[in-house]
């Protein structure tokens, strides 16, 4: 068994200092060690995007990163977005547009959208479709999700004013 390593990782604003096995996937660190089960795991080999989180502001797949690779990083998960009482504009947009049914894929779509809209605040439908090309949804279908991404952009623009 390989020796455990010390890591310091900030997740949703809290600094965690933990000892982890080098082989521990970042997705498992987030879900099992920290108990933040909002990040979902679908395929565990980089295909589906359910496990998407932000690492230093960039969307990444947490199932194909080792926790030790995130030493010193700033991680944001879906729990950082909103609360039941006060949702994030992207969450509101997904709800209003019925962009989820089972919700399994949703945390990944939300985190992908956070990074994307930060850089492209006013996407066309085609651009919104491209933005989510790395996330699978197996039950809702993509039409409503594309609309939700566009509505989210409008809501966020309004928030900023």
């Amino acid at each position: 068994m390989a020796d455990k390593m010390k890591v310091k990782i900030t997740v949703n604003g809290t600094l965690y200092e933990r000892e982890v096995e080098p082989r521990l996937l970042l997705s498992d660190f987030i879900r099992h060690d920290l108990g933040l089960t909002g990040t979902h795991v679908g395929c565990e080999h980089g295909l589906c995007g359910a496990c998407t989180v932000l690492m230093n502001g960039e969307a990444v797949r947490s199932c194909i990163l080792f926790t030790v690779m995130a030493d010193g990083a700033d991680i944001k998960t879906v729990e950082s977005l909103g609360t039941m009482e006060k949702m994030h504009p992207i969450q509101e947009a997904f709800q209003e547009k019925h962009a989820l049914q089972c919700g399994f894929c949703t945390p990944g779509f939300l985190m992908t959208t956070v990074e994307y809209l930060g850089k492209n605040p006013n996407p066309t439908a085609e651009e919104a479709r491209e933005a989510i090309d790395g996330n699978f949804c197996r039950c809702t279908g993509y039409e409503n999700i594309v609309e939700a991404v566009q509505l989210a952009a409008k809501k966020m623009a309004a928030h900023e004013q």
């Binding site: 390593m5 996937l25 498992d28 990444v60 030790v68 491209e130």
Partner: protein, 290 residues
């Protein structure tokens, strides 16, 4: 879907990384973006005894213009950094055109240029680009440095000239002749999916005739293929529609070796090659004329 245990080293300098790789020999493996290696480890198709993580070796991440109008790209430069780079767009529009087709944004945020070259996936874009652009690979180890041409670098599927103690540190792209036209065409099942077949062309015109041409195929043989027929037939000639069609037909029949899988038969892929070579050559010629 959990990787087997391994020893982990995270050097912070190139020197230290080379030292570690020499110490570890066959039991060591380089970890770059991890976007191919970690999925393989999750499946336990790969079970390296020790990983040497390059993510803290910041000196290996750069995009530097060179004297001849080319670029030196540090192996750890992320795909997304290349995709967003203005200097890449200006000097090598073909790279900017290809990048968004590689996997998805979340993967390009971590995957590295050098990692893709070293991985040598026959279905990958970056090895093919390096062949098209006549890249020189800088390989370093404790024993010393050497340069290997892209043409001599890829040995087979996922096989290169790299030895266990070697590190690919830089990909050097010689500058393009002014007026070079380039074009990329691929067919995949969905955006970001691996290409079932793809062709990249590069053309230099001299008046109405072709002065230089290069067509690279990938995903249709064990390594990317630098085709011969376009050079043999088109150089010094007017690239008419008929000439381009004949070249595309020849290349599809004789210069690739596609396999059959659940996504398509070998015959179907040959047909894709014919169509993609025609489209990319035609567009590259048009762009070279402008």
């Amino acid at each position: 879907m959990k990787p087997a245990p391994f020893d982990y080293f995270a050097p912070t300098s190139l020197e230290e990384a080379l030292e570690k790789l020499t110490d570890l020999g066959y039991s060591g493996k380089v970890l770059a973006g991890g976007q191919s290696l970690i999925p393989a480890m999750n499946f336990r198709m790969a079970r390296p005894a020790a990983l040497v993580d390059l993510n803290k070796v910041t000196e290996l991440s750069y995009i530097k213009p060179t004297q001849d109008g080319g670029l030196a790209i540090g192996t750890m430069t992320r795909d997304s950094a290349i995709e967003d780079s203005e200097v890449v767009k200006r000097l090598f529009p073909i790279i900017a055109e290809v990048m968004p087709n590689i996997a998805h944004k979340q993967i390009r945020n971590r995957g590295t240029f050098g990692g893709a070259v070293a991985h040598a996936d026959p279905a990958a874009q970056i090895p093919a680009l390096s062949l098209l652009l006549d890249a020189k690979m800088k390989i370093q180890s404790k024993k010393g440095d050497r340069w290997v041409d892209a043409q001599d670098f890829f040995m087979g599927p996922f096989m290169t000239v790299l030895e266990p103690e070697d590190l690919l540190t830089e990909v050097l792209l010689p500058g393009l002749v002014p007026g070079t036209g380039t074009s990329y065409k691929q067919i995949s099942r969905q955006r970001g999916g691996y290409a079932q077949a793809a062709a990249i062309s590069k053309v230099v015109m001299d008046g109405i005739k072709v002065k230089d041409v290069r067509v690279v195929l990938f995903s249709v043989a064990e390594t990317p293929v630098l085709t011969k027929e376009p050079v043999r037939v088109l150089v010094g000639q007017v690239p008419t529609t008929e000439a381009i069609e004949a070249v595309a037909e020849y290349v599809a029949q004789n210069e690739c070796d596609p396999g059959t899988d659940i996504h398509g038969t070998a015959e179907y892929r040959r047909n894709l090659v014919r169509v993609l070579v025609r489209r990319s050559l035609t567009e590259a010629v048009e762009r070279a004329r402008k």
